[in-house]
């Protein structure tokens, strides 16, 4: 089973129908475990109970960048390999990524209020994530502005790859600019600075959110394929009536 075997939408539909229930079940189980662990995690000596926002905020923020990464790979698939499902993958990932980015901004803002004393600060990481959110919205507007899906796909692919430049800027913004947002503490050289009692629930939540994305993405891709089928059937019907 290689990537090219999935080029046939029917085969993709059949395979994803078999995989989806398992993925959904795994997501639910991991989310339950992760939420339970985060709820029972000890309070921070400085931040108190608000530290629990981290278990939602950080996975959302990771996913907001991960989804753009997935879309960039799919865009390469559209432009370079002309994989027939690549643009379906790119299109259906955009709203999910926008939702994750919005949740990251929202939870960050709610966390910032008690910790920094402000809902919003024009700090490097917050600003670059906000730009990412705007670019998700622009991309969705682009998909909606053009009727012909393949034409929209190529334009969106170029824009996605240009926008991918923003990802390293977000990742390293807290290291390059000394700002309010704390520097990288989980994935850094020399090991994590986070205590085990926080790190394990966080990693479980991260995996659970990634599974959630994969589940939602597969379901959205199936919907998109079916939507395109309905559209072409409707157009066939219309042209038959005209004839």
């Amino acid at each position: 089973m290689t990537l090219i075997d999935l080029a046939n939408p029917s085969r993709f539909l059949a395979l994803s129908a078999r995989v989806l229930p398992w993925l959904a079940a795994a997501t639910v189980i991991l989310l339950t475990i992760g939420l339970y662990q985060s709820a029972t995690a000890p309070d921070d000596y400085q931040q108190g109970a608000t530290v629990k926002i981290m278990f939602i905020h950080v996975p959302n923020a990771w996913l907001s960048m991960f989804v753009w990464g997935v879309m960039s790979v799919a865009s390469l698939g559209t432009l370079v390999w002309r994989h027939p499902l690549a643009d379906v993958a790119a299109k259906s990932a955009a709203p999910i990524g926008a939702a994750f980015t919005f949740l990251a901004l929202l939870t960050g803002s709610l966390w910032g209020r008690p910790m920094w004393g402000t809902y919003w600060e024009w700090d490097a990481r917050l600003t670059s994530v906000l730009i990412l959110f705007l670019m998700y919205l622009g991309l969705m507007a682009l998909w909606r502005a053009v009727e012909d899906p393949s034409r929209a796909a190529r334009a969106a692919a170029v824009l996605t790859l240009v926008g991918a430049i923003n990802l390293p800027i977000i990742k390293f913004s807290v290291d390059w600019w000394n700002t309010l947002h704390q520097p990288a503490s989980v994935m850094r050289m020399g090991g994590s600075t986070l205590d085990k009692s926080f790190l394990i629930p966080l990693l479980v939540m991260a995996v659970a959110f990634t599974l959630l994305f994969v589940t939602l993405h597969l379901a959205a891709m199936r919907n998109e394929i079916l939507r395109r089928r309905v559209r072409s059937l409707q157009m066939m019907q219309a042209s038959q009536k005209a004839a």
């Binding site: 705007l134 622009g138 507007a141 682009l142 034409r151 190529r154």
Partner: protein, 222 residues
């Protein structure tokens, strides 16, 4: 090389003659700057403080306004097809078109900056700093905006969609442009660091812009 020089000469000539609309950008720039005192109040000290930001915002919007037509006119009269089919690489042709656009529409904005600085109560040093940062930063605006213009021509949709796509890409340029000019005027921070980043952004967009625009033209036109 001669083909590219001819392309640049042709684009500048078209932009400067009747119907070209390169100087409309300057007029728009002037109008935006004149509107600002009505919005923030005619307090001269406050205008001087906001001056660099107002000038940068005006230049950003003015260059975006004129970029809309970068490929559209060529697409309508068919010369874009000739350019894509010619033996010169499309990336270089795109870069020359952007260069011609910057010479015709971007440079006049910088030339107009001292006059507009006068309106905003900026002194010589501040005006010079803003003009210098605009000189370093507007190429980045043109070359990233070109991507949006190329997308717009392949989609047959311009205007607001292009603004939505291009404006987020221009935020870093705006941040470092304003930071550099503020640093030169008041700031305790050094002028060199944000100015170098601004130049770096221009150079990066010089590389990425033509490739992305050429890719979207190649894949989009059919």
């Amino acid at each position: 090389m001669t083909a590219l020089a001819a392309l640049i000469r042709r684009d500048i000539r078209i932009a400067l003659r009747v119907g070209g609309g390169a100087l409309i950008g300057v007029l728009f720039f002037l109008t935006v700057v004149v509107l600002m005192p009505f919005a923030v109040g005619p307090d001269l000290a406050q205008l001087a403080r906001l001056g660099p930001s107002i000038l940068w915002l005006g230049a950003l919007l003015a260059s975006l306004l004129t970029l809309d037509r970068l490929f559209m006119a060529d697409h309508e009269d068919g010369s874009l097809d000739l350019i894509t089919m010619s033996r010169t690489p499309l990336e270089l042709a795109c870069a020359s078109k952007a260069l011609a656009h910057w010479l015709a529409a971007g440079l006049p904005l910088i030339v107009a900056t001292p006059v507009l600085g006068l309106l905003l109560n900026l002194d010589m040093v501040s005006t010079g700093a803003v003009a210098l940062t605009l000189l370093a930063g507007t190429p980045a605006l043109t070359f990233t905006g070109m991507i949006g213009a190329a997308l717009a021509v392949t989609l047959h949709r311009g205007g607001l969609l292009m603004a939505v796509l291009v404006l987020p890409l221009s935020i870093p340029v705006l941040i470092f442009g304003v930071a550099a000019s503020q640093a030169a005027i008041t700031g305790p921070l050094s002028f060199g660091a944000p100015f170098s980043i601004l130049c770096a952004l221009s150079l990066v967009s010089l590389v990425i812009g033509p490739f992305a625009a050429a890719a979207s033209l190649k894949h989009g036109l059919d």
